[in-house]
Each structure stands twice: as structure tokens, then as C-alpha cells.
Symmetry: C2
Subunit: 246 residues, 2 copies
Amino acid sequence: MRAIGPEAAPDLRLPRYLQIRDDLMRRICARAWSDGQPLPAEDRLAGEFEVSVGTVRKALQVLVAEGMLERIHGKGTFVTRAFERISMMRFVRFSEEERRELPTTRCLNLEVGDGPPEARTRLGLAAREKLLSIHRTRACGKEVILSEHVWLSHKRFAPLEAYLKKESPPLLYPVYDSLCGVLVSRAMDELTMVPLPARDARVFGLAAGTPAIRIERLMTDPSEQPIEWRVSYVTQARFHYAIESR
Amino acid sequence: MRAIGPEAAPDLRLPRYLQIRDDLMRRICARAWSDGQPLPAEDRLAGEFEVSVGTVRKALQVLVAEGMLERIHGKGTFVTRAFERISMMRFVRFSEEERRELPTTRCLNLEVGDGPPEARTRLGLAAREKLLSIHRTRACGKEVILSEHVWLSHKRFAPLEAYLKKESPPLLYPVYDSLCGVLVSRAMDELTMVPLPARDARVFGLAAGTPAIRIERLMTDPSEQPIEWRVSYVTQARFHYAIESR
DNA sequence: GAGTGGTCTAGACCACGGT
DNA sequence: CCGTGGTCTAGACCACTCA
């Protein structure tokens, strides 16, 4: 997906329908049509862009394929809200219990600072930029099943700091959208097996060095900008990861 | 993806372009165009189906989106061969070394019988149907990194039995295609951590019960029929699984 | 140059959702 | 009923590949 800046001019070398797609994308990201309000109808857009309806349709089809828009026959074309796009658990892939019932979440630590170098690299942060570091646990009943570290650009996620001091939402992605206007779009997961670090071992009540699964995740937004770096640990007994691919 | 039988008649209630898509799909599965031979050009197909070129284009676009066809500007429209679709290691995601160099594969056991009930269930096999069971190892150099059990319908994969008695190909999916005419299209993986069963422990030279990652995989063909059930074990030290999702 | 797919037009008619 | 998107047509011109 192309990155579209706020004042991007259309790339005239592109086919017209892709220029229109880029323009619409920019306006979608700028929240031009929100809260269930439909986009202008095809013929209006065709008039605005001074192309035929077919060309507008092609631009809209691309955005539908990219998951940005939904079209409802007889009603209109709508922006797919991030909350729906996540469809609750789109990127949540752990045990069955977790799927039936969201685990309770507790925030153990929340700080602003330099953070680990690896997180800075992954997020592509500038030298002076601060990082928001979050350490959370997820538990089913009384049993802690996941120890999770999240790193975010403090600049981009400034409102989150105050929010997380009061609330412990089970899922962060909808909050990224509603609070910080950040849509998540792609996840890259990497699983390895490692000895449990001491601070994570403590939350499970286990000895440091106990074998555990480490799940790294880099999330990007629709412009392919990295937005979140996450490292989770799960103990072997509770480990369950399911994925479908084509 | 809709299941298309060999003598399926088009569903007249469907839009014309989907009827055409179904018809082309049936012919693709019947190997109407193979070995890099292109499909007839758009205008030929339009003539054959007695529709306009635009309608044929729409059918072709659907098949491209489904990964069945590839279109090359100026050359033609081609069936995406399973071998390319798998892109060598599409579902094989272990260490970096393996990515650079295919692991050597050894077949330890090959038999035809009832197989385990779970494999029968997953493959949706009829009561009397026989199962082809394969136990293989994959090694980098002398170190065995994977113990792999594969179950297939013996009826559908009959030619494979004789072939595997002589050959140990590093990847089975291209053989499924070339030998048995079976295209793989979708994989569902499920990862858990379990004690190593005795027969798998032996191939690693480890004690039974050593913790290991178990990877279950159900593969389906383009008609969503299950074709392969696979259970692999990897030792914790060599475990590395990477996945991207949207 | 011949043949292919890629883009685009300016219409047509239909099916669906709400009034 | 009107306005929406869904399907389809019969062309046009362009860009790419290969002989």
C-alpha cells in the first residue's frame, strides 16, 4: 500500500484510477467520511474527478480489495472502521479459552524513555524521539498466560499514556484508532523458543530460564509505517497459536 | 472458493462473469492449459462465451485474485502452477539455514492402512477408504531438525506410493501437482508445545517426553477439499516460525 | 507489425434499500 | 418511488512482448 502524506499531490504518471484511489485514501485517512456516513455516490465522484463512472468504480474496487472500503448494494460506500476491520480478534491468535472469553489484562508498567535499541530500530525512530513502553499481563481467571511488552512512538501515541494510567483495555488496537487515529493493517509475527527472562518469569511465578515461547510482532499501518513492536512470552503449557494462509 | 465438479453445469442464477469464472476454473483443474501455455486471448474467450470482452475480463480478474491465474502484459494469461504458487517454501518456515539450502529429506516409513482416527476425521475420509501414511525427517547436514508425519487419501494419491519408494523429494507439494494432479491452495497451521512422542524422539536422538513444538497442518485444494493432514515436531532449539498477515 | 493485456468511456438495464 | 451499487456492452486507444 502506498504511503500517502497529508498534502500529497497525485502522481500523474499513474493510471487515473490509481490517482483517484490515492486521493480517496488520503481523504479516508484524514477522516473525511466517518461515523457510518457514506462516500459520495459513484456518479458524484465521477463528476468531481471528471472521469467516467467506470474509472471511479475501478478506484473503489481497489480500496475494497485493500480493506479500506465496504460497499453495500442499495445503500452506499462506507469506510471500514478499524474496529470492525480488526473484527474483534483479527490479530489475536492464542488459545481457545482466550477466543471464547477475552483474558483480563493488567498493566504492570508504563514508562516513557529511550527503550531498548531493538524496539527503536524496528519502529524506525529518530535519535531523539521518546518511546512509550508498556508491560502488561493477560490472565484467564487467576492464571497468567501471557507476559507482553509493547513499544510505541511516544509522539504518535501521546494520548495513550494518560489513558492507560486509568484503563486496562483487553485489546489495544481499537484504542490506537479511537484515541490516536492510528489504524493497524499488517502484522508480522515471529515465534521462537527462549529461556524466560527474569522479569517475565516473575509474573508467571516461575524460575527465570524456564523454557517459554517468545512471540515478536511488528504491526504496521496502511502506509506500511511501523507503529508497534511487541514481544510476548507464553509458557509452554498454555501455548497455542493458530494461523491460516493461502 | 466454489467446488467445481468435472461435469458441473454453470449455475444460471449467477452473474454471467461468475459462470464464466466457474467454467474456466473447471477447465483449469482439468489441466486444459498447462506447461506454460497461455489461455486464449480475451477476445477469443469473449467470442466463445458470447459476451463482451469486459465480462471476460471480470471473470479473469476474479481468478487472478484467487491466485489461479497470472496475466502478463503483452504475453498472455497463464495458469499459476502449484509449484510456483508454493514458491518453494511458502509453508515451510524454519531457520535461516534452511531457507538458503533445502534440508535433506529421508523417508523413514511409508504404509497404506487405516491410519489414526484424527487424520481420517480431518481429511473427511469415508469409512472404507485407505490412508497413505508417511513418516519423514528433514535434516540440515547431520542434524535432524524436523520429524514429519503426513497422511493422504490413498485413492487420490495412489501414484505417490510407488514414487516415494524410490525418491525422497525435499518438497511434496510440487509432486502432488505433477504426479497426482492435486493443487494445494490453503494451509491452516496450529502450533502447540508437547512432550516428544517416543518414535519422534528417536529420530532426534532425544529422550521421549523432551519438550518440542508440534505443528499441525491441514492443507486444502482450491475447492476447499482437505487433501493433506500433517503433524511435525521440531525441537525447541531449532524452532523458528515467521508469518505475515493482514 | 501483429497480438496481447491495461486503461477508459458513455452509455444500458437490473437488483437492492429505504421513503 | 428514488437513489444506490451490480452487471454488461461495444467500442476506443495505449503499452508491452516477441518475431
